[in-house]
């Protein structure tokens, strides 16, 4: 009877341990389970409470440590990122957002002017990430120039990903995209192009040629600022 109860308790506890990051579990799971088994058996043998209060204590304690380990794991992941992986991650994220908002849930009658908050937030996120890239780079190389280069590289990768994803979306899902109010209005307000696909593609190519160098310059400035902030922060200590 006691063995059966211990087995059930261990199964439940083991399930709880699955919430820890894998690396933590790999190192400590066997010992944590052994310690729990010792504790549980000891309480059973001494006829101490193994009911609600016992489990409430266990769960509260574990959840608090799981959160700490998850945060540490996340911070470790961010610290290991470099200018390339940050650019690729954010570029992919923005490309997915562009795909969802343009193809999966399109709102052809909503113009960009009505989405200023969402668009501004996306820009702010991008700028923050470019600055963060410079900040993280300065851990390896303290020169401002290195932070500026990291910011520029991240910005160029991010922008290239976004631009290329727009070119792909506009061509592969042309029937959906051509109904967007902003594109329809712009197409009707010009006389140079007679084909809408050609018009959209020429706009994309122009954005790619101008957007990438401009993003590189903004990224360099923000990366330099990020690097400078880290230098100031640690100069105080």
């Amino acid at each position: 009877m006691k063995t059966d109860s211990t087995h059930k308790a261990l199964t439940l506890y083991k399930a709880l341990l699955h919430l820890y990051p894998f690396s933590y579990r790999k190192t400590f799971e066997a010992q944590i389970l052994q310690t729990f088994r010792d504790h549980y058996r000891d309480r059973q043998e001494n006829n101490e409470d193994i009911g609600f209060l016992f489990w409430a204590d266990i769960i509260l304690d574990e959840v608090s440590n799981i959160l700490k380990e998850r945060i540490a794991h996340l911070r470790g992941g961010v610290n290991k990122m470099n200018k390339y992986t940050i650019g690729i991650t954010i570029g992919l994220l923005l490309a997915i957002i562009a795909f969802i908002s343009n193809v999966v849930f399109p709102s052809p009658n909503v113009s960009d002017d009505q989405n200023t908050v969402a668009i501004s937030l996306a820009y702010l996120l991008m700028f923050f990430i470019w600055g963060l890239s410079g900040y993280l780079e300065s851990k390896k190389n303290k020169r401002l120039q290195a932070g500026a280069i990291a910011g520029a590289v991240t910005a160029v990768i991010t922008t290239a990903f976004v631009m290329v994803s727009f070119i792909l979306i506009d061509n592969l899902f042309f029937d959906t995209v051509k109904q967007q109010v902003d594109k329809v209005t712009a197409f009707h307000n010009q006389n140079t192009y007679h084909d809408m696909r050609v018009f959209i593609n020429s706009g994309n190519v122009r954005a790619l040629i101008i957007g990438i160098p401009v993003a590189g310059i903004i990224g360099a400035c923000l990366g330099g600022v990020g690097s400078g902030i880290r230098r100031l922060r640690f100069a105080k200590h």
Partner: protein
């Protein structure tokens, strides 16, 4: 090499674990029982707190893995022991406690309360 200044002052959990290991190497449950005994049951350390602290103490070189042992009950357990840095850190922390108690006594501030808490 970890600097003592970087790990001091210690959290209560780290302090009680070091206090337990200074008496010899121990496995997880022995440490938990020891903390309960050392504090007359006033402090209860859960498994999560224990191993979270063990992880940080290993990386700060305050304790080290003393290897696995198959105990008389046929269960395999990992033991931990205190390092020289851990011993020095504990001594500094104990001195801090002693100094604080001296101030409390000198100012006649000894409280008459009994508190139970979990860490």
């Amino acid at each position: 090499m970890t600097d003592i200044k970087n790990v001091s002052p210690l959290t209560p959990a780290v302090f009680y674990i070091l206090l337990s290991l200074v008496k010899g190497q121990k496995h997880g449950y022995e440490i938990m029982k020891n903390v309960k005994e050392d504090t007359q049951g006033k402090v209860r350390m859960g498994n999560g707190t224990l191993y979270g602290s063990v992880k940080r103490m290993l990386s700060a070189c305050l304790i080290e893995d003393a290897g696995d042992t198959i105990d008389p009950d046929n269960e395999r357990r990992k033991y931990y022991r205190i390092t020289e840095l851990g011993r020095k850190t504990l001594n500094i922390e104990m001195q801090r406690y002693i100094d604080t108690v001296s101030v409390i006594k000198a100012r006649n501030l000894v409280p008459n309360v009994s508190i139970k808490f979990s860490i």
